[in-house]
């Protein structure tokens, strides 16, 4: 039998424990925030603007240092020395909300190569990683294009490629869907699913409750600098009160499911995550009744 004690440090990739942080102007960024990210999982961080999502992200990458509390990465407390931060930032990749805040170089492949060079890799390895990262985000054909000739969605992909090229274990994306049209969102979602299939742990901030419910394994609710709930996504319906306090509704599919349950069309224990799943359940229920008759 595997020892649970041995599994615990690796199962939790990142843990924030009672983190407090106030900005120089006195505004509270985090106020006793605790949350844990499991290795290999997909996580959505939900919360209103100013609830501390970006501040959490900046702490995970060592850009901000907690004024109290402790952050653990792969079972080790974060080391804020120069070499410790280098190790951390090579494992935790952060994609900023606005691509223009992240992209340095005027050329796509130059910008993607920025992170790997900072890791001290040689030219051949950097070239390989740049090609692989651009392929992963579907931007191989844009390698020698100028960044300012790209659309907003393409710039976002370049940002992700720039972080992927550092081969992080944990990829953090600050509101990746913001500013993208529906098609671009679907394309980005396919990219994220591909990364998850490669074993990369994903943590993203979003305001889209339907997307978070459909996509994430775990959902973390942020309010006033604190993580007020961390839950398995299928249990989101049990947190209607907490969501309401955050100004968020239940996902549309849950509201629809509740309506169908009240009419006796769907069993209580079923928890569809998307409209497609709900439709399949309805079809199954209808066929079951047909068999019964």
């Amino acid at each position: 039998m595997m020892s649970t004690m041995n599994e615990r440090p690796t199962a939790t990739l990142l843990a924030l424990d009672q983190i407090r942080f106030a900005y120089p102007d006195g505004s509270i960024g985090l106020d006793g925030c605790s949350l844990a990210i499991r290795r290999g999982s997909r996580n959505a961080l939900l919360g209103a603007n100013g609830s501390g999502k970006t501040t959490v992200f900046h702490h995970t990458n060592g850009l901000l240092r907690p004024q109290s509390g402790q952050i653990w990465y792969a079972g080790q407390a974060i080391d804020y020395s120069r070499s410790g931060l280098r190790r951390l930032r090579s494992k935790v990749g952060l994609v900023f909300q606005n691509p223009d805040h992240q992209i340095f170089s005027a050329s796509v492949q130059e910008d993607v190569s920025f992170g790997p060079y900072n890791l001290g890799l040689d030219d051949a390895t950097v070239r390989e990683r740049v090609a692989a990262s651009l392929l992963a985000v579907g931007m191989s054909g844009f390698a020698d294009k100028a960044v300012h000739h790209l659309s907003f969605g393409q710039k976002k992909r370049v940002c992700i490629a720039g972080v992927l090229a550092m081969e992080p274990e944990l990829l953090i994306l600050d509101e990746p869907m913001a500013g993208l049209d529906y098609r671009m969102q679907e394309e980005l979602l396919a990219v994220l699913d591909g990364l998850h299939a490669r074993g990369i742990t994903l943590l993203l901030a979003t305001h889209d409750i339907d997307f978070a419910y459909r996509w994430a394994d775990h959902i973390h609710l942020m309010r006033a600098g604190r993580c007020v709930a961390s839950l398995d996504a299928p249990r989101l319906a049990d947190y209607a009160g907490q969501l309401s306090a955050l100004g968020l509704p239940l996902p549309a599919v849950i509201a629809l499911q509740h309506g169908l349950m009240r009419r006796g069309l769907l069993a209580v224990e079923q928890r569809p995550r998307s409209c497609a799943e709900l439709l399949t359940m309805l079809e199954t229920a209808r066929l079951g009744k047909g068999d019964g008759n």
Partner: protein, 248 residues
């Protein structure tokens, strides 16, 4: 933006920047080595022909890019052609054609045209990112290149910021009267100043997030036929210089 569009869309986009740089340098040397205005003018015409005919930069675009420089050159030549004599005691201002004025204008003007054609050749056929990569290979100081890269990148970020701000101001009648124009321009400058500071900070944070703690290092573009391109550029450049020396 005209230069930018041309640099990315011309036929010689994939030609090694080292080769294009070598040819432009040779054209500059040939223009300065030209003993007569006619020779310098021939050099200018040949280089402009290579840009328009060889790299297939549209003639209209070429002329529009060259126009501001040509106006500047014309103004400079005019000041060379005339001499100004101001007699303080009499209070007279005398403007007259300088004795060697026309000859000087022809010599300086033709050489400048040659130099302009050489620089336009490089600027209109080579994206700045390729030029920076070339300068990096030529061991230009890292700090200078970092500034070039950031300035070039920020140029487009800020042109978008300026466009957005001006649009937002115009939508609320910010440029309706001359007085409002001054007020709005002041607001624009103040807004951009703040944005410069904020962008600098966010870029610094972004660099840290990707483990940067020193010079900005980037992958250099590779060009498949660089050796062949260099040979052709060397031959063409040498021909230009020899022509310039031969037409003495």
């Amino acid at each position: 933006m005209l230069i930018e569009e041309s640099a990315y869309s011309n036929r010689w986009r994939k030609v090694s920047p080292a080769a294009k740089g070598l040819f432009a340098l040779a054209a500059l040397v040939a223009a300065f080595a030209a003993a007569t205005p006619v020779t310098a003018f021939i050099i200018a015409a040949l280089v402009a022909g290579a840009t328009v005919g060889g790299a297939q930069v549209a003639p209209g675009r070429y002329f529009r890019v060259a126009l501001p420089a040509l106006i500047f050159l014309a103004a400079g030549c005019l000041s060379l052609a005339f001499s100004i004599d101001w007699n303080i005691t009499r209070g007279d201002l005398l403007i007259q054609l300088a004795p060697d004025g026309l000859h000087t204008v022809a010599a300086v003007g033709a050489r400048s045209l040659g130099a302009l054609a050489a620089l336009l050749f490089l600027a209109l056929t080579t994206p700045l990112i390729d030029l920076v990569a070339l300068l990096r290979r030529l061991r230009t100081p890292e700090a200078l290149l970092d500034i070039m890269v950031l300035c070039y990148r920020m140029l487009f970020v800020f042109s978008t910021a300026v466009h957005d701000t001006v649009t937002a101001q115009s939508a609320r009648l910010g440029y309706a009267t001359p007085r409002l124009v001054i007020r709005s321009l002041g607001g624009l400058v103040a807004n951009l100043t703040l944005q410069v500071w904020q962008r600098a900070h966010t870029l610094h944070v972004a660099a840290q997030a990707r483990n940067n703690d020193g010079p900005l290092r980037f992958l250099q573009a590779s060009f498949d036929n660089a050796a062949r391109d260099l040979k052709i550029a060397f031959a063409a450049g040498a021909a230009l210089v020899l022509l310039s020396l031969w037409l003495r």
